[in-house]
């Protein structure tokens, strides 16, 4: 649209301050995690630490089971993502391609459940899990994330848009439903599976409310719960808190930086599902 190229577009005047506003707090978080308490409690605040202080990390790792929390979160996220990929792709394929009794009703019910908020579900789900004896275990954190209406919907939409000819060819060659799905359809579904994986990873890694409700044992906490709890006790230990924040956010931020396209595709798909 622009007829000639200015050396300096006016859009920079909006975008530069905005970009800094969004990213500087995170930069400060990382830098603060490497500061000593004396440096942190200064006003005016200094952004750059004078030298690399590791006290925050050391204190965090010795005074809390933060590594354990980290491992718990990794486990919960890995199980959630893995189960989502298997269960939602199978269900999505079933709803998109297979004709079976009860298909329409089942899909409708699944879509309707999206409207039910977590606040309504957490009381009975907690009681249900207590009866099953999985409260205070990691299973309590990942069972609600094994499959989701959104995941089923996403995969179904993808399979509906896939041309059916390849599958028909496989059928004519004598492949059964499972083989067709496993060796023809699934390899084609890689983009959708990546989107699903990113979505599930973001939701399960960052979840606070549900694990907060379901887990009260210090060693079974996920990282988000552990940090929130730790913050409640040590409101002023900023270097430790920021070190914990780095631990909680760095993996996803790094993943985002390396696979930005995939993340953005996931976010915009979430938006276009309406």
């Amino acid at each position: 649209m622009r007829r000639f190229h200015l050396p300096f577009s006016p859009w920079h005047l909006l975008l530069m301050p905005l970009a800094l506003l969004f990213v500087l707090p995170l930069v400060q978080m990382v830098l603060t995690s490497f500061m000593s308490s004396a440096e942190i409690n200064k006003f005016p605040p200094q952004l750059i630490p004078t030298s690399l202080h590791l006290e925050g990390y050391r204190a965090l790792l010795t005074e809390t089971p933060a590594l354990r929390w980290f491992g718990n979160t990794v486990l919960v996220s890995a199980v959630s993502v893995g189960a989502h990929l298997v269960l939602c792709s199978m269900a999505g394929y079933g709803f998109a391609r297979l004709r079976f009794a009860g298909r329409g009703v089942a899909f409708l019910v699944i879509i309707a459940t999206v409207m039910i908020p977590i606040q309504l579900l957490m009381i009975p789900t907690y009681l249900m899990f207590a009866r099953l004896g999985i409260v205070d275990t990691l299973a309590a954190a990942f069972v609600p994330w094994l499959a989701s209406a959104f995941g089923i919907f996403l995969m179904r939409q993808f399979f509906l848009a896939l041309p059916v000819e390849l599958e028909e060819a496989a059928r004519i060659d004598g492949a059964g439903t499972w083989r067709t799905f496993r060796s023809i359809v699934l390899p084609l579904a890689r983009p959708a599976l990546a989107t699903l994986a990113v979505f599930t990873l973001l939701s399960s890694w960052n979840d606070l409310l549900w694990p907060l409700v379901a887990i009260s044992d210090n060693h079974t906490f996920t990282l988000q719960v552990g940090l929130a709890n730790f913050q409640g006790m040590r409101r002023t230990e900023w270097s430790q808190l920021m070190a914990g924040n780095v631990l909680a956010t760095a993996p996803l931020i790094l993943a985002f930086l390396f696979a930005q396209r995939k993340f953005i595709a996931t976010m915009s798909f979430t938006g276009l599902k309406g």
Partner: protein, 310 residues
């Protein structure tokens, strides 16, 4: 059975075989769709129904519950804490939803320009969305710290008096709204950016050729094209605002002086801090009903305005 089938007349076989195939097809279908369906429905519909029964009882989760009919609901609508919480949720929603939509549109248009550094800008603006709300809340406690936080330092440079932010009952809710926007604008930006890139180039070019100013092109071509996304964003962000919990838990825990206690936070306190399960479930059902009405309201309004998104 097999023998009977083999011995039956050709006509029966022809009829029996499709039925057998239908049964097999249904079994195959459920083998694929069943596990996920059972999980999703079992962890939503079933607890939702159970929650309704809980909401009609007085129950602390340990001793047997006492059925009280609609008493919990009746008490809620005149409970001053509930009313205050509803006011806070409403204020938060009314501030958050339009701001996140307007900011999303503006930032998306800016990011849709072909200028230098655009990749850098995009990365910076999207990164907070990836950070967990819990971490964001803890970080916000640092940035908005009244004694040595960066926010007060910026104010000092601008010559504005120092503020209490999250420690002030009159400011905390607004500060939380700003923090929520920081974390969520990346999302609305992404969906608007995708929508902008879907607008046919010819549409804009045709309007420009007809002599429309940039503002008129935006007002009469771009904005109408974005309407379906706006309806979706309004619904989605309303749900986000109403259900905001993590951020409040890691910044103010409902304080100071209950000034940031929202309905969702109140439900959490009722059910899991004070063990009033029946009362909490009733509050959750009220919240559900109101959210549903709000969502349907937005959709109804947008349908009337002529955009078909749902």
């Amino acid at each position: 059975m097999a023998i009977t089938f083999a011995a039956s007349s050709p006509a029966t076989v022809r009829r029996a075989r499709p039925r057998g195939r239908a049964v097999r097809r249904t079994l195959t279908g459920w083998a694929f769709a069943g596990p996920a369906t059972v999980l999703v429905v079992g962890l939503s519909l079933f607890p939702a129904v159970w929650a309704f029964f809980i909401s009609r009882a007085r129950w602390n989760g340990i001793s047997p519950g006492v059925p009280v009919g609609w008493a919990n609901y009746e008490r809620l609508v005149s409970d001053p804490d509930m009313l205050a919480a509803a006011r806070h949720t409403l204020l938060l929603t009314v501030l958050f939803v339009p701001s996140s939509i307007v900011l999303g549109i503006v930032v998306a248009i800016a990011l849709n320009q072909r200028i230098r550094l655009i990749g850098f800008y995009r990365t910076c603006i999207f990164v907070p969305y990836v950070a967990s709300a819990a971490a964001t809340g803890i970080l916000a406690g640092f940035v908005f710290n009244p004694q040595f936080g960066a926010a007060n330092d910026v104010l000092r440079h601008l010559g504005i008096p120092q503020q209490q932010f999250l420690e002030s009952p009159t400011q905390a809710l607004y500060v939380i709204c700003v923090i929520a926007l920081w974390g969520e604008v990346g999302f609305t930006t992404v969906i608007y950016l995708a929508a902008l890139q879907d607008i046919p180039r010819e549409l804009v070019e045709a309007a420009t050729m007809d002599g429309a100013s940039r503002w008129r092109v935006f007002r009469h071509v771009t904005l109408p094209e974005l309407r379906p996304v706006t309806v979706f964003a309004a619904v989605w962000q309303t749900i986000t605002a109403v259900q905001l919990f993590d951020l409040i838990y890691t910044t103010t825990r409902g304080g100071p002086l209950n000034s940031t206690q929202t309905v969702v936070y109140y439900i959490y306190e009722l059910a899991f801090q004070t063990q009033r399960l029946g009362y909490g479930a009733a509050a959750a059902y009220l919240l559900f009903a109101v959210t549903l009405l709000l969502t349907l309201g937005i959709i109804w309004y947008s349908r009337r305005r002529g955009s078909e998104v749902f």
